[in-house]
Amino acid sequence: METTNSFLAAIRSRTAGQAWFIFYLALAALDLGAVSYTLYQHHRVTNLLDRRSTQDEEFDKQDRVIRRLGSITVEIDDIANDLPNSRDTTESRDRLHVAKSAMAASLTALHVSAATIPADRALMAARVDRIAHELRIVAQAGDDKLAAVERGDLAAAAAQNARLDASNVVAGRLLNELSASIDQLQDRLFAEEHEQVELMRRAQIMIGALIMAIIAGMALYGRALAQRVLSARERDRYVEELRLSNGAFKQLSRKNELILNTAADGIIGIDLDYHLTFLNPAASAMTGFSLEELQGKSIHEALHHTHADGSPYPAMSCPKNSALRSGVAASSSDDTFWKKDGSSFSVEYSMEPMRDEEGRTIGAVVTFRDTTERRAVQRLKDEFVSTVSHELRTPLTSIRGALGLLAGGLITKSPEKAKRMLDIAVSNTDRLVRLINDILDIERIESERAPLTKTRCEASALLRDAVDVMRPMADKAGVNLELMTAVEGTTVWADADRVSQTLTNLLSNAIKFSPSGSTISVSASPGRDGVVFRVADQGRGIPADKLESIFERFQQVDASDSRDKGGTGLGLAICRTIVRQHGGDIRVESVLGDGSVFTFSLPAAAPQQDTHAATPGARVIVCDDEPAVRETLEAMLKQHGYDVRMASGGDELLGLARAFHPDVILLDLVMPAMGGWQAMAALRGDPETTAIPVVIISGMLAQSQEPAPFDTAGWVSKPLDERTLIETLEHALGLGGRNARIMVVEDDFDLARVITASFERHGIETSHAATGREAIEMIREHAPDILILDLILPELDGFGLVEWMGTQEHLRNVPLIVYSAGDTTPAERERLKLGPTQFLTKSRVPPAEFERRVVKLLDVMTLTKDGVAHAA
């Protein structure tokens, strides 16, 4: 079986095939030889048989002749014996003569017959001759006896009789011998013949065996051949499958690589000896090491060698160590990794053993995250809580103490002291209230639960309002407020209420620290970084070492200020938060004893645009229960080129919104039957109207409705200011009061998922189409703000999609990012033009960089739509 197998195995190869062919030819030749030999043998046997039948006749004849000769000798002997009894010898002579003639005839016949036997011809002839000789002696002796008898010589007759008897005996012996010899010969011939037949039989067996061998060989060879053919087909199929799976594998590994490269967490692969085998880009960025620098090095020695306090961290005591040996996961939420430059950072890591198919641990994956920032935030938060607790307890201590003394009746004897305690309680209660307000305010602003409602604001108007508010306090303190007129048309894109808050805070501070009779000047002027507001006092000034810290929470120049001046230590922190939220900056310059100058910058508003051109025929529904407001708004909006419809209540609005498909809705909050928020809930609940931006028109300030139950596209306070209204409407129409919308057209679902997820992290609404046709359907529903396009797509490719979008009026200028696998030719680029178009190649622009570029592009668009002019 084994040899068969190896034989089969051998003939599978081409050279073995040739060997097999030669072997087969040899076998066939052998077979032909055997057949020829058999035929020859057959011929011989046939000849033998043929000859034997004639020989057998001869043998029979000889046998008969020999027996005749025997009887003739007996006759002669009888004649001779009878001689003495007859007187007349004539009869005996005649009888002898007849016998002699018969003997001669028989001898001749024997001679002739013996000559026909090819084998032992000479021997036979010799024997026949000897018999003839003896018989002639017998015949002669008979003759002589006869003659002697006739002569009457009895003695001679007796001698002749003896001679005759002797020869007779010899002849009888010789005849017997010949007969035996003939029998022998016959036997020998038969044996010879038998041998020939046996040879023929063997040859036939051999032929049979050879034929069997050939047939078997052919069967085996055929099987091997068939297998070879099958295996060749199998191999072709396997190669095809391999080619396919290789492609899939490449795609999969590209996806996996993308995922690893995109992961924000550091990912490190180690082998069983803790030696680094893999490092993803995030890990590389965090540690400063490249894979080449760390490959084959121990992870502990490279990144984990020292505790945060600087003491050495032996690998043996590291939880990672035991983890890999015992095959269980290890993690730490508070640990330290060391960078290439020798600095360290706080990490949270986890190590998961990596197992092969058999479940053997072959290494581990260490995932880690830089927690420095989170830790710092946590520390700040803890500090803030601790500080707030302290700041609240301080006035409470005075209140509690003073009230406790009064309640305990301890100071009833001294009305002055009691009055003093009451004063302390009251003033500290005021301080506590201010503190709580400011804490809540700063929290609200910083947590962005109160988004800025930016509008175009005249700088001079903002200054005038703030000065008007603070005038009474300044008058009381005997301080002059000097308002320098701002350059005409100096406008900022800002939240007016917040800017007012900042200005009044700064003015309030300035008044508190200004001696009576001094002057505070307030101004605004266009500067390099937008518009610069300035509040300058002639107060006591701020020590140089406090210039930075006064903007921190609860940092005052003098702790007693909070009691004396009614400050909370949060005013300037609030100012800085507001200014920074607008993208500006606040700073202070001061000379001790001479006064301080606070300046802050806000982004300038873009030059006034022609509103007719900006929103040609945009559709607006105004929903307000007051006819007067509706009329005013209708006139105002029509004058600006809007297509306006009116609704007097929530129900009417809902029906109209579904029928009219407005671009924006102006909605009053306080209405009978259905209130504004209720109407908005209904709008949001209906898929047809859910995306329509809504601008609130209300007698209340936006801030009074915190938090607003829905995202609004803007808020316009009554009484309505035409410019504010139009600007807010335009802003709402710009991005529709919604998040930016990106469409990813990519047939690779995994890549699409990675891209989509990365944008959703930025709060960007991202949709995905896998084919050009699907993209067209989706774009018909919602036009994207940016289109990210793969070129090779099923159904309709990227070129086709761009061509179609080029034919659509409202899609012609959609910004396009072509994110394709290969480079594009200039001719292809010419075909791929929509709005601003960028060409990024997948292999050259990694997803992280890709994401950054898209977000940047989106930022630029959003700012442009916001109407913010960039100071060039």
Binding site: D382, V385, S386, S389, H390, E391, R393, T394, P395, L396, T397, S398, I399, R400, G401, A402, G404, L405, G408, L410, I411, K417, R420, M421, I424, S427, N428, D558, A559, S560, R563
Partner: protein
């Protein structure tokens, strides 16, 4: 019999006033100082029986003041009690190792402040006329 004399060191004027009145009503004699630096001198000169020390003060805070008091031969033996609004567990842990006799929280109950001080110091409550057993 001399009443026990207590030095209050606190930068908050209202709190100094309320605490002074509270302790005076409880039968102590009170001296006040407006900050840590200002408190060292009366501590040496007046040799109070105990010092009630605020923690959050500008320039020289309660911890630094306590260290200064412990450095000086003249003030080392005067027991110090923190009276502080820093009552978060983490804050308390920091303060407890500094060597003060007690940490009294703000706001305080004026009915109990005197009692808490005498208890903390091992004086017999109400023994305002007795001598300090330092």
């Amino acid at each position: 019999m001399q009443p026990e004399r207590i030095l209050i060191i606190d930068d908050e004027e209202d709190i100094r006033e309320v605490a002074s009145l509270t302790l005076e009503e409880a039968g102590f004699e009170v001296i006040t100082a407006t900050c840590g630096r200002e408190g060292i001198e009366p501590a040496i000169a007046e040799q109070p029986d105990a010092i009630l020390l605020d923690v959050m003060m500008p320039e020289m805070d309660g911890a630094a003041t306590l260290a200064r008091l412990q450095e000086s031969e003249a003030t080392r033996s005067i027991p110090v009690l923190f009276l502080t609004a820093k009552v978060q567990p983490a804050d308390k842990r920091c303060l407890s190792s500094l060597g003060a006799v007690a940490i009294l929280p703000k706001p305080f109950d004026p009915d109990r402040l005197g009692y808490d001080i005498t208890t903390a110091l091992g004086w017999t409550a109400g023994r305002h006329e007795g001598t300090a057993s330092t």
